[in-house]
Symmetry: C2
DNA sequence: GCGAGTTTATGACGGGGGTCATAGTTTAGG
DNA sequence: CCTAAACTATGACCCCCGTCATAAACTCGC
């Protein structure tokens, strides 16, 4: 089964013979915000308990119910974090892009992972040993504060998500997501230029689960936004934002 | 206006002449899990920038959009954390009981508070100076780790909330909430005895906002749970749990 | 204990959106 | 290419639940 692929955690072949511009072991989390302030020595220490793994699209990165004792840091690619309810329905609670991580709860508390991670694109993931990260957080107050910032930010995002799910109709959430994707494209806090083309990184099915809706509804809403002249669908998975202001109106928050 | 009441933060009268078993200043956050591991000296330091405030029912504890530079730690009572959308609708994103806190984002990032806090019961709240808390997290790795644990836990809870809002119908969420309240009553991880009586700490209106629904629907769902024999409503705001197992079935998670 | 205000209960109604079914479209593999 | 599989689009149906309206029950302050 796929899920024991990271149970036997011997240094994988992934770290040898990389063609990339990223060192197989130590290099990846260097890019990650939380660890960017570490000293060379600390980096080195972290690298000791780290490995880099490649996951191809569709592959399971981590599995709910397990406790692998690792922090998963996405270095490249995209990983969806989903919860599957007893009734079999799936809800994406989070998307991990480069720099994002998962597994913080089981870092600090003796808990199994509550969600499953699946690569949506080919991804490179740093697996950091829990014990090393803990040790590092002990040593480096800066790292702790960075980590705390990251978690606090996620709390706010999740509160926003909860608010949106409870209060706003699907169409607004679609608008909000498009703006968010556009904002992620342009640089931080840029005003989101009119006519930006956003590339949807996922299938409608996946996006729907992220927004807490169904593929059919998402398709309809995208088209109704197009009919309203706010966006223009071009090709399979590209959207041009025609009227950013009115989009923002619908989104109202997030 | 109420919201400047913590703008002028001179030591309030609340801290003099307390009758309680909690010292006016330093005593309160001693009970709080995040700070329980601090040394006497560190406690003392924290107390320097701290004050204790009493809030009576309905009073605003903190206000969205402000940045008071404080961490709010609830020592006693209950505070609801709500977001009010542009359309005027309100969503409770969190309940703060004793030991819970709010304001962590503005602790780490230069952000105003995203939500408003209102006391649902008379409450005692410790106001800790942001700078002192930061300093403390620098000094004490243990405190940092505790804080990280607390935030990580909240992330999981919020992910669960989001999942519930997106996937589960109201009746299930009601069931989940009742079980959660019952679990909070009995001691940690106790099996929740059959026939437990849960006291609802809020009006249906407030609970509804917490569950992302309306008062009317909540009322109906409570009664349908009663008809199904899972609970028994007794009096205005007490519920007896008759069939914990079937309740848990509906809750399925959280 | 009596009216005013709050909280809860209940019916009627309608819309948003989930599900099912199905058809059209891309993509990918042989 | 050409078929199979995956993805997207669209219609039909219907149910959950939000809203409005209103009544009942409870709570308080005089």
């Amino acid at each position: 089964m796929q899920q024991d692929r990271h149970a036997d955690n011997q240094p994988t072949h992934a770290e040898s013979g990389k063609k990339g511009h990223c060192h197989p072991e130590a290099g990846c989390f260097r890019l990650v915000p939380i660890f960017s302030s570490l000293s060379e020595e600390e980096m080195q220490f972290l690298a000791t308990g780290a490995q880099t793994r490649q996951f191809s699209k569709g592959e399971v990165v981590f599995q709910a119910g397990q406790d692998p004792g690792l922090l998963f840091v996405v270095a490249r690619g995209l990983v969806k974090v989903t919860r599957i309810s007893a009734s079999g329905r799936e809800q994406v609670v989070r998307l991990l892009g480069p720099g994002d991580f998962y597994g913080e709860l089981s870092l600090f508390l003796p808990q199994a992972l509550a969600a499953t991670g699946v690569a949506l694109q080919d991804a490179r993931v740093c697996l950091l040993a829990r014990s090393h990260v803990r040790e590092l957080l002990h040593r480096s107050p800066e790292a702790s504060l960075k980590m705390l910032s990251a978690l606090a930010l996620r709390i706010m995002e999740l509160e926003t998500l909860a608010e949106q799910l409870a209060v706003h109709p699907v169409e607004n959430r679609v608008a909000a997501l498009l703006l968010k994707l556009a904002a992620a494209r342009g640089d931080v806090a840029a005003p989101v230029p009119q006519g930006t083309v956003v590339e949807l990184p996922l299938t409608q099915e996946e996006i729907a689960k992220l927004l807490g809706t169904s593929q059919e509804t998402l398709s309809r809403k995208l088209h109704s936004l197009e009919d309203a002249g706010l966006i223009r669908l071009q090709g399979r998975r590209c959207v041009r934002l025609l009227d950013v202001n009115r989009l923002a109106d619908r989104a109202e928050g997030l």
